[in-house]
Symmetry: C2
Subunit: 340 residues, 2 copies
Amino acid sequence: MQMDDRKKLILALIIKDYVETAEPVGSRVIVKKYAVNVSAATVRNEMADLEELGLLEQLHTSSGRIPSEKGFRYYVDYMMEKKSINDEEINVLQNILQTQTYEWLQAVEKISAFLSNLTNYVSFIVLPSFALNEFEHMEIFLLEPGKAVVFLVSDMGLVMHRKIEVGESISSEDLNEIAQMFNKIFHRKQISDIRRSDLQELRDRLKKKRKAIEKALESLDSMLNDSQEEKVMMSGALNMMNEPEFKDVDKLKRILTMLEKDGIIKNAVPTNPDKEAGIMIGSENILEDMKDLALVYAGYRTKNVIGKVGLLGPIRMEYGKAAGAVESIRELIEDIVKKF
Amino acid sequence: MQMDDRKKLILALIIKDYVETAEPVGSRVIVKKYAVNVSAATVRNEMADLEELGLLEQLHTSSGRIPSEKGFRYYVDYMMEKKSINDEEINVLQNILQTQTYEWLQAVEKISAFLSNLTNYVSFIVLPSFALNEFEHMEIFLLEPGKAVVFLVSDMGLVMHRKIEVGESISSEDLNEIAQMFNKIFHRKQISDIRRSDLQELRDRLKKKRKAIEKALESLDSMLNDSQEEKVMMSGALNMMNEPEFKDVDKLKRILTMLEKDGIIKNAVPTNPDKEAGIMIGSENILEDMKDLALVYAGYRTKNVIGKVGLLGPIRMEYGKAAGAVESIRELIEDIVKKF
DNA sequence: TATTAGCACTCGATAAAAGAGAGTGCTAAC
DNA sequence: GTTAGCACTCTCTTTTATCGAGTGCTAATA
């Protein structure tokens, strides 16, 4: 059996209606609500065909049809139109970013919130691991005798700081010297290339300021470790509460608990995502736990590193809108990155 | 009518059972389950008295009794025993803090998570506004020509940083000079005392490095603004899903949406909380939106500033455990503060 | 040959009725 | 003051009846 135009139309209408109402769609609805120029009986025949093709399913004999995962897949592959975010909305966001953010991380948070508000799905942004970037600069300064702060800056402009305790006898100049030494050795190295052996070498060179150096090394080490992981920003998790498929508290609980779990999203999104939005529908998802959800994602590039941005929602998702929004935001993030 | 010992016992047992089961408690349960040495009929008489006193209520004529808000209040005021966290658990937390935290904020996050895990309620910690503390130190350094980072340190050990753009011609030494100037003027001032007039004065003094100074001032200003607000850490919000009173998604949604709202907790907790746990039950709460919840809170002091810590849960709360936990954590926070 | 009107049938959803059971309040006896 | 006994109340669960949306099939129609 072949898909002809009428079958496509009916599939599209069923998806549209189902996405809107979350209810099975009957033949009458198609004819009346969408003013299709054939009778209900004809539509029923087509629906039976679509079911045979695996694109629709019936919850029970006398219910209307709902799109199957395969049905959504067909729609996404052959019929979907992406709806980009309009300029007005982008301007709103740009405005927020310009007036309210000073840091890259803060900006990411706002963007994520914006994306989830716009779509009413759960949005996420995965930040490329700091570890892939280059060591740009470090600095140590004395707060008071015995206490100092270590700063680490990557070329991406990420700044981290950590307080350390040093010997009471250590002076500002000592710390400066240490910092300069560090900078000389590490400058422009990939942070991930800095091995413990380097650190050991350094440790040997300066005997005198032993404690201070140890502590500085420790703090660097911990910052590196800390930043080795990709960070994930998620927002709008509570939007899931609005979806009728999760109106049962236990189901909702499963979903929200899962989303809260650290690293779940990192693992859910394929590595090396493209600029084009990728879509995973229900059981297509990598993770078993996500078989009741749909995922729309894309990758953004910052220098040589790839970050991810995307949306999570029910299988009954507005894929066109979601994909369009994700792609728009993906582009916007790349622009923002250049600024920071 | 007076409260005698038997009435107290029965009230306590009803509360205990109701907290445990979330079901109305009948006279038989009291007699059988808790091996009280009187007959069910006697208990019924006492229950009728307790109802007359307003400490119990009945959902309908033939249901068991549940404690009223007034009943919980009586219990809390006259009968509750606080259950502190045991040392073993405290050790677990201490361990986490020592091995996994480097920053005050990080520590607060862990503590809050610990508190919510321990009690299965929603925990929060309100950080005293940075603005109340003293300006300790600032530093500026050059990242690359035209770009610099400004650091601000308070005596509480809070460190903030912000990137700024300066003129290409500005050298490291210039920035140092500016920083020293700032430090001289502001050292040990209450951050909230730093007025724009001070900033203006400074601006006038150094004409040459105009742009750099402007930018540094701007960044300081924005950091100060940023930190003027109290920060709130909340964790375990999803614990609400476990409470039978919120098994209805709409109710749950109302609660979670409210909790997510920025500043709600800040406003919910009375100012100047004591070391002793304070308790607000249902409609005793300041905020109308919280009339279905109970709040247990205490204040911790850091130097001259007061922070807040507490728990939110259903009215049917284990008040003894909650109050004990909050007070233990309150103390622990004060200890931790001293370290940082 | 494709389309459609007509109709019996299915099955979930809602409503109404019946029954069970937990718990009470009251009375009278201890 | 306490308690056994008992009628009564009211929710909750189960059962039964009814409704109606939607289907699939058949036969008529264009």
